[in-house]
């Protein structure tokens, strides 16, 4: 059944089925297609069934009726037409032809052939061999017409193959040129593509037959090129002044005759370029051939047009694809820059605030000193201001440094360097560093090292960042919570040989809808504070160690992040890296000796 689907406007998403022979379109209720659009007339237009399609007729509306952007008073619609009335845009879908229906029912795919079906595979041919039969066989030499037809089919088939198998346009064009040269005796050839910016033709591929001086320039008449592009027609040219009655005694014979074929590369939408080949016929050859010197025929021309069409489709597809990839890349770069500059801006704002406080504090201090009297209270106040400013500057300096580290980790600039390390030590360091921050936020940070933790092979610096990011998040999540508490616990599971670090908080928690995106780059749920790099970086680091991050969270109750990776005890590591590194016996660093650092 035909229908109108509103793709833009206040009735967006509504589908009107067209089941009557006449439908009226308008703003008022008595229209069978009623649109809530103030720019549409009361009875704006009508649709009248005409044969297998509807005819759209404007009924003297004040704002007019447009089909595919063109004003229309009366127009037969075809499927896919876009109709614009007022602010509403509708898509017309015509009647579906019978033959397209229920195709699925008419074709059965069965596991085994039915018993009475005697079909079996009699011959199988690899895709790449499909063109072999097109090759002219020696026995066919008796029929030059068939041989030529086969050779023509062969080149078309090979062009199609080249088009479907080559992604790189320059490579494809070179391949096509090569095939043309195998098929026709051309001396020189070139393919020119239209530059998408300037519209001028730029040579992409140039080829000469063996024995022809390759440094010779190919000169192509602009008149011919313009003709080919403007008329979208292929031409066969000859520079013989008069190709029927040329006189062998004239100078042209001394110079020979140059013949050329120039065809447009006509794609779906535009001419994307031209293919040009030419050949010169020497006087000797002309005499030998008794005047019938034409090497290029109309058949060549026709085939060249077909080849050029194939090539043009490929060029269009590739440039479309490239434009898409480029657009996506630009969008990603834009997003990256926007996100980074936002974060850097916030850091800069903090630095400015901190340094302004320092400046004011120094001014106060100078004022106190200048007065000569020793007002201790004023002096102390000045120093307090300076100290406060300094703290803010320091904190933002730390933010820049972790942002840069995260960026490096994320951009693969930094390769993981596994070495014998103690997870208790690494996580303990993080806990120690974060104590200060926890104190500021009024959050209790609890560090529980594993009782038994063998020396494992991992990258301690990377693991430090991974843990730091998760602990920072946990602390931030507790900021607005009364008696917030973050617990960091290390474990070693000797049975599964897994090292595990659990970071648990009783903070804000993560909304179920946000859980999926927490590991996405530049997605931050922390407002202005987050870079959107922390968790993706942590995840990347754990993945590089063959591990993973598990998350459980409940909104308002808190979150639990489990960082685990397969324990690769130092004794069992591969020989290769171990030899190049100083080995430390596990006994040298007793496991769990860092529990003193714990601060609960």
């Amino acid at each position: 059944m035909a229908s109108l689907f509103v793709i833009q406007g206040s009735d967006q998403g509504t589908r009107f089925l067209l089941d009557e022979s006449v439908h009226s379109i308008g703003r008022t209720q008595n229209n069978s297609v009623r649109l809530h659009d103030t720019e549409i007339s009361r009875v704006h237009a009508e649709l009248v069934l005409h044969g297998n399609n509807y005819v759209l007729r404007d009924l003297g509306s004040s704002n007019g009726t447009y089909v595919n952007g063109q004003p229309a008073t009366e127009r037969e619609l075809v499927s896919g037409d876009q109709i614009q009335l007022g602010k509403s845009l509708m898509l017309y879908t015509g009647f579906v032809e019978e033959s397209h229906e229920d195709l699925a029912d008419k074709v059965d795919i069965v596991a085994q052939a039915a018993q009475n079906d005697e079909s079996r595979i009699v011959a199988a041919l690899r895709h790449s061999e499909g063109s072999d039969w097109l090759l002219p066989e020696a026995s066919d030499s008796s029929s030059p017409w068939i041989a030529r037809a086969r050779s023509n089919l062969q080149i078309m088939y090979r062009t199609a193959l080249a088009v479907s198998h080559t992604m790189d346009i320059d490579q494809l064009l070179a391949r096509i040129m090569e095939m043309i040269f195998e098929w026709v005796e051309a001396d020189r050839g070139c393919i020119m593509l239209k530059d998408s910016n300037t519209g001028s033709l730029v040579p992409k591929v140039r080829r000469h037959r063996r024995g022809i001086r390759s440094d010779e320039k190919i000169t192509i008449s602009k008149t011919i090129l313009d003709y080919v592009v403007d008329h979208q027609e292929g031409v066969l040219t000859s520079d013989a002044r008069d190709d029927k009655r040329w006189d062998p005694a004239k100078s042209i014979v001394k110079l020979g005759v140059r013949e050329a074929i120039c065809v447009p590369m006509q794609g779906r939408y535009n001419v994307v370029g031209v293919i040009y080949i030419d050949t010169s016929i020497t006087p000797q050859r002309m005499l030998m051939n008794d005047g019938k010197a034409n090497r290029f025929t109309e058949e060549h021309l026709r085939l060249m047009i077909a080849i050029a069409h194939q090539a043009a489709l490929a060029v269009e597809d590739t440039s479309y694809y490239k434009a898409m990839v480029q657009a996506e890349r630009l969008a990603a770069v834009g997003q990256t820059i926007a996100s980074l500059s936002h974060h850097i801006k916030n850091i800069l704002q903090g630095v400015r605030g901190g340094s302004y406080l320092i400046e004011l504090g120094l001014g106060d201090h100078d004022g106190v000193a200048g007065l000569g009297d020793h007002d201790d209270e004023k002096a102390k106040k000045a120093v307090d201001t300076i100290r406060k400013g300094w703290g803010i500057v320091e904190r933002n300096q730390q933010r820049i440094s972790s942002l840069v580290m995260d960026m490096l980790t994320f951009s693969k600039e930094r390769q993981p360097e596994p070495k014998p390390s103690d997870l208790n030590e690494v996580a303990g360091e993080v806990a120690e560093i974060m104590q200060a921050r926890a104190g500021e936020l009024g959050v209790e940070l609890c560090w529980l090292p594993a009782e038994e933790m063998p020396i494992l092979m991992f990258d301690p610096e990377a693991m430090n960042s991974a843990i730091l990011n998760v602990v920072t998040n946990a602390l931030d999540a507790c900021e607005d919570v009364e008696s917030g508490k973050v617990t960091v616990r290390a474990e070693y599971d000797p049975a599964d040989k897994v090292a595990r670090l659990t970071i648990e908080d009783n903070g804000a928690g993560i909304a179920p809808g946000d859980l999926e995106s927490i590991f996405n780059v530049f997605v931050s749920h922390k407002g202005g504070r987050g870079t959107g790099l922390g968790l993706p970086v942590s995840q990347k680091i754990l993945e590089e160690h063959g591990g993973q991050i598990l998350v459980e969270s409940e909104l308002g109750r808190g979150s639990r992040f489990i960082l685990e990776f397969p324990a690769n005890p130092q004794a069992e590591i591969r020989q290769e890296p171990a030899q190049s590194r100083p080995t430390i016996a596990s006994a040298d660093i007793p496991a769990g000796d860092l529990s003193d650092l714990s601060s609960h």
């Binding site: 936002h342 801006k345 704002q349 406060k388 803010i392 749920h525 407002g527 504070r529």
Partner: protein
């Protein structure tokens, strides 16, 4: 001598609130701090501040209802509002809104707040 003017600071970052609050108090002003626009709208009714400084970029959900509600309540009470950072378009018809894009310098920001307060004082006949 009139009572010191009170400034409502709306910013989710404790550090930013701290800086601005310290600077404003140095100028002899009083400050009230809230973390977001929703909380600020509530405070607005009770505290009747003389001016609002609102960091539009610190909201985790940009252009949320809270910001709109805050701007409406501010225009109802004719409280001048200084918006820091790029705000969504919903906020543009602010009654006596002033936009300060980030990153800003504090000295001019403080000066701007003070001149807005002066203007308000004159208007109210102080």
């Amino acid at each position: 001598m009139p009572a010191p003017a009170r400034i409502l600071i709306v910013d989710s970052s404790a550090e930013s609130r701290d800086i601005l609050s310290t600077l404003l108090r140095r100028q002899g002003l009083e400050t009230i701090e809230t973390t977001g626009a929703v909380a600020a709208s509530l405070v607005l009714g009770q505290e009747d501040p003389d001016l609002i400084v609102y960091d539009a970029e610190s909201e985790s959900v940009p252009g949320c209802q809270g910001a709109l509600a805050l701007s409406r309540s501010a225009s109802r009470t004719a409280t001048p509002i200084v918006v820091l950072g790029t705000a969504s378009r919903d906020l543009s018809p602010l009654a006596s809104g002033q936009f300060v894009s980030k990153p800003y310098h504090y000295r001019p920001l403080i000066r701007r707040i003070e001149s807005l307060l002066e203007g308000r004082n004159k208007a109210s006949g102080w």
